[in-house]
């Protein structure tokens, strides 16, 4: 399928969104809540682009992450309307997290130096992009979700308690773009969402590994072998190497 993005003819697959087609063709569109491995939600509104359909020639703002490509559409990723919309969105996000480095960098790239709005009293660095909740859902745990509504919405475990379903995999912290989700890894334990997880130890060298709960959960739910993560990567590599050397492979 052929469509035009910023005047360029682009080849796209029928399952492409504007964002994926653009990316593959080296056209950059900023986004905060998109992740290739997760379902799109269109929450951050940063990837807005203008689309002109051939039917009525009207140009409208759509989210590139969700809008499926169609033949004969024309996409504008950096028009005046797009620029203004992104600036407003970033300006609003900065009012929520004025010090956040990622947001500041992104804002400056898009021509916003600092927020022109008043910062909200309960401002924090969670920009409610839902990457963590979607990652958690994808993992199969559903330990956290968005709670409440409007400005007061936050990402929380059920009933704001220590989440039963959390296995301490750390996906939420790893995917959080602003570094808001705190995960503390100590040699003996991992602490996340107020829950402590005992860390497994490498049976060869004693180095701390993933949490025991996560290891057991993964074996039970992901058809992994019983010896999954009994060793650290380094020991595993050494053991494998010695096996190979025993076979006469150098």
């Amino acid at each position: 399928m052929i469509l035009r993005i910023d005047g360029k003819q682009i080849e796209a697959k029928k399952w492409d969104t504007i964002l994926s087609a653009a990316k593959r063709n080296g056209i950059s569109i900023p986004s905060l809540c998109h992740h290739d491995a997760l379902e799109n939600v269109g929450a951050c509104r940063l990837c807005v682009v203008e689309v002109k359909t051939s039917s009525n020639g009207e140009r409208k703002l759509v989210t590139a992450c969700e809008y499926k490509v169609a033949p004969h559409i024309e996409v504008f990723t950096h028009s005046e309307a797009v620029r203004r919309s992104r600036q407003t969105t970033l300006d609003l996000l900065l009012a929520r997290a004025p010090e956040n480095k990622l947001l500041l960098d992104l804002s400056r790239e898009n021509g916003v130096e600092s927020t022109s709005y008043s910062t909200s009293p309960d401002a924090n660095e969670c920009i409610l992009c839902y990457l963590c909740t979607r990652a958690c859902e994808k993992m199969g745990c559903n330990a956290i979700s968005a709670v409440g509504r409007g400005q007061g919405k936050s990402i929380q475990p059920p009933f704001l308690t220590v989440p039963d379903a959390c296995v301490g995999c750390g996906s939420c912290a790893a995917i959080c773009p602003t570094g808001f989700i705190e995960m503390i890894d100590m040699p003996s334990k991992r602490v996340i969402w107020g829950k402590e997880f005992e860390r497994a130890k490498c049976e060869s060298c004693g180095a701390p590994l993933i949490p025991v709960a996560y290891r057991e959960w993964a074996i039970a739910n992901r058809e992994l072998p019983e010896d999954y993560y009994l060793q650290c990567q380094e020991c595993k590599r050494k053991e494998l190497a010695s096996k190979f050397s025993g076979l006469g492979v150098s």
Partner: protein, 629 residues
């Protein structure tokens, strides 16, 4: 009794008619929310007690009443319309207004012919006017045209017999005599557009759902949106409480037309009466064979499940509503693919509003061709509105599309309370806007209202007099939306917060000349980039207020003055000595003792002490408390 044919229906109706003739006194107490708040339930109990004391044979269950030798029926209906004059009673066809429990004995005595009805219980246009007994004589009712609300207030909502008696389900039978395709054609030709606010042509929606379900060889669903939540709007509530059957009948016709075997009706959780009446109506329809397997002995089967909302305004938005039914968090999703293609559970879905479904049986009835005789070129039929605010006759009205705002507010609504000047009318709830006096002659239809920056919305109509501050009104709706925004997308979540902060600044007098531009800019960006319809329309109340009442905003910003006397920081109340009679009312009404002066002397407000609550202004009979210039 299982209904199989049209003659089953007419026989049942005939049976009710005959039995009803034995009931010499039929008292129907209005059970609308307004009258209930005014004490309708206590009144009903008083009437039952009085009738018992006067040795009448009473029955309060209409179905039982028909099969007994009772000669008196006392029951509750849905909203009878004129909320302002409640509690209302319809007694053997006559309308009684403002009936109190102490009037109960007189009402029963008058009903049995022992005395004549006390004249105070009849409606009068003004205090000395002639008592009017029939609804058709009262201007509030005389200028209305009831189609969707036709039997609301007359029908007994807990009795299927009562609905059948009034011709219920004959439209469904008519529809069954036609092919589904023909039914869609009729609905299409009637010009019916979605009453939930968007105004999408109903027939076209149904057809595209049929096309999508055929193309994908999929099942499809029909869903009724009863999640009405606009401040000041209660049409859907009145319909679901007052005539649940007509909503169900409309849904069954729709299901037959699109070939759905499962329907859902999503009702706002804060409408417990509507929930229980609809549940009961569903059970009664199922028992009568009007829902369930093989309706009218055809091979068409259809069921309806009632789903209670979770208390979120945003769940009235179609995609959020469907997610809520699916058991997920009620947050909207992007609608680049229509729900007629991919809706509930990913299958083609028709979602219509309560009032839309309530119009369908009329369209499929014998007199259905009358529907498109009402209305304008692009908006056919009638529309129910809730008249609220500073209007003399608040209540539930239904008028042909294209009726002017002036007719609705002044002819039907009777004008502004205390004959104060009209200032604005807010239509369309939080997605709509405020229209000034210049727009009073605007014909009310979907397109006209949209053109002037407001919206039909679900049909709330809040009338405001000169004591309403437009900054405050914009602030109120923004505050409402701020609390109801789901918080999923940035423009709505953060944008509403900032808009509300900026508006607060105006009403506190700390705004600068730039503030109005900032508001306008942000509001326009929100309209374009928010995720759902709620977010996209959220800036409408502000933008329309700014467009139509910009001078008032500028006055707040530049002169630090609120002419309506609402914004506390920008108001000083003074007593006009030429008007004050020294009646002491304001003095005793002041919560902070800021008013001095003794009887028959001009009162004075201590500006330092005054908290600008406006209580003195409310109680002053001579309009002597004024906003300082």
């Amino acid at each position: 009794m299982r209904i199989r044919t049209a003659s089953d229906l007419s026989q049942w109706a005939e049976h009710v008619r005959k039995r009803e003739a034995n009931i010499s006194i039929q008292i129907k107490v209005c059970g609308g929310a307004g009258c209930r708040a005014a004490g309708a339930e206590v009144l009903r109990d008083a009437l039952i007690q009085a009738a018992g004391e006067q040795q009448r044979k009473i029955e309060i269950d209409f179905d039982k009443c028909l099969e007994s030798d009772a000669n008196t029926f006392i029951g509750m209906t849905g909203c009878q319309g004129l909320c302002q004059a409640g509690p209302l009673i319809t007694m053997n066809g006559e309308l009684l207004v403002g009936v109190r429990p102490k009037d109960a004995a007189d009402v029963i005595r008058a009903a049995s012919g022992e005395i004549s009805m006390p004249a105070r219980l009849y409606y009068r246009s003004n205090p000395g006017g002639t008592p009017l007994k029939q609804k058709s004589e009262i201007p509030f009712y005389a200028h209305q045209e009831l189609l969707a609300l036709k039997h609301c207030g007359e029908l007994l909502p807990q009795s299927l017999a009562s609905y059948v008696h009034l011709g219920g389900f004959t439209a469904l039978f008519n529809a069954f005599q036609k092919s589904p395709e023909e039914v869609i054609d009729i609905v299409d030709a009637s010009g019916l557009r979605g009453r939930g606010g968007g105004g999408f042509p109903t027939g076209r929606k149904w057809r595209s759902c049929v096309d999508a379900s055929k193309a994908g060889d999929n099942e499809c669903y029909i869903v009724c949106n009863g999640d009405e939540g606009d401040p000041g709007a209660f049409m859907d509530c009145a319909l679901m409480e007052g005539n649940p059957f007509v909503v169900l009948e409309g849904m069954i016709i729709g299901a037959y037309a699109i070939g759905a075997s499962q329907g859902y009706i999503y009702v706002r959780n804060e409408y417990p009466v509507a929930v229980s009446r609809l549940r009961k109506a569903i059970v009664m329809c199922r028992e009568a064979g009007l829902l369930g397997d093989n309706i009218f002995d055809s091979d068409f089967s259809f069921n309806i499940e009632l789903v209670r909302g979770g208390g979120a305004f945003v769940c009235g938005e179609s995609s959020a509503l469907m997610r809520s039914i699916e058991g997920k968090i009620g947050e909207p999703t992007s609608k680049y693919i229509r729900s007629t293609e991919q809706g509930l559970f990913g299958l083609p879905t028709v979602l219509n509003n309560v009032e839309t479904f309530a119009c369908v049986p009329f369209i499929l009835s014998e007199s259905g061709s009358r529907f498109s005789k009402f209305g304008t070129e692009q908006s056919k039929g009638t529309k129910a509105f809730c008249l609220a605010g500073c209007v003399k006759h608040t209540g539930l009205v239904e008028v042909p599309m294209g009726t002017t705002l002036r007719d609705v507010i002044f002819t039907i609504g009777g004008g502004i309370q205390n004959d104060r000047p009209f200032k604005a009318v807010q239509t369309g709830g939080p997605s709509g806007g405020c229209l000034p006096a210049e727009k009073l002659d605007l014909p009310v239809d979907f397109d006209e209202l949209t053109q002037v920056g407001s919206m039909m919305g679900s049909g709330g109509m809040i009338v405001m007099d000169d004591r309403s501050c437009m900054v405050d009104v914009a602030r109120y709706f923004t505050r409402f939306l701020l609390g109801e925004s789901c918080g999923k997308c940035v423009p709505c979540r953060e944008g509403l917060y900032q808009l509300h902060t900026l508006l607060n600044g105006i009403s506190k007098g700390i705004a600068t000349k730039r503030t109005l531009d900032d508001i306008e800019l942000l509001a326009c960006e929100m309209k374009k980039s928010a995720l759902c319809g709620l977010g996209k329309s959220a800036p409408n109340p502000i933008l329309s207020a700014l467009n139509n009442f910009r001078d008032e905003f500028e006055e707040h910003v530049n002169l630090k003055r609120c002419r309506a006397g609402v914004c506390a920081g920008l108001t000083t109340f003074v007593i006009d000595e030429t008007k004050c009679t020294g009646c002491l009312r304001c003095k005793s009404g002041c919560p902070v003792d800021a008013i001095s002066g003794s009887a028959n002397q001009t009162h004075v407000i201590d500006e330092q002490r005054c908290i600008r609550c406006g209580a003195c202004r409310q109680v002053c009979p001579d309009d002597a408390v004024q906003v300082a210039k």
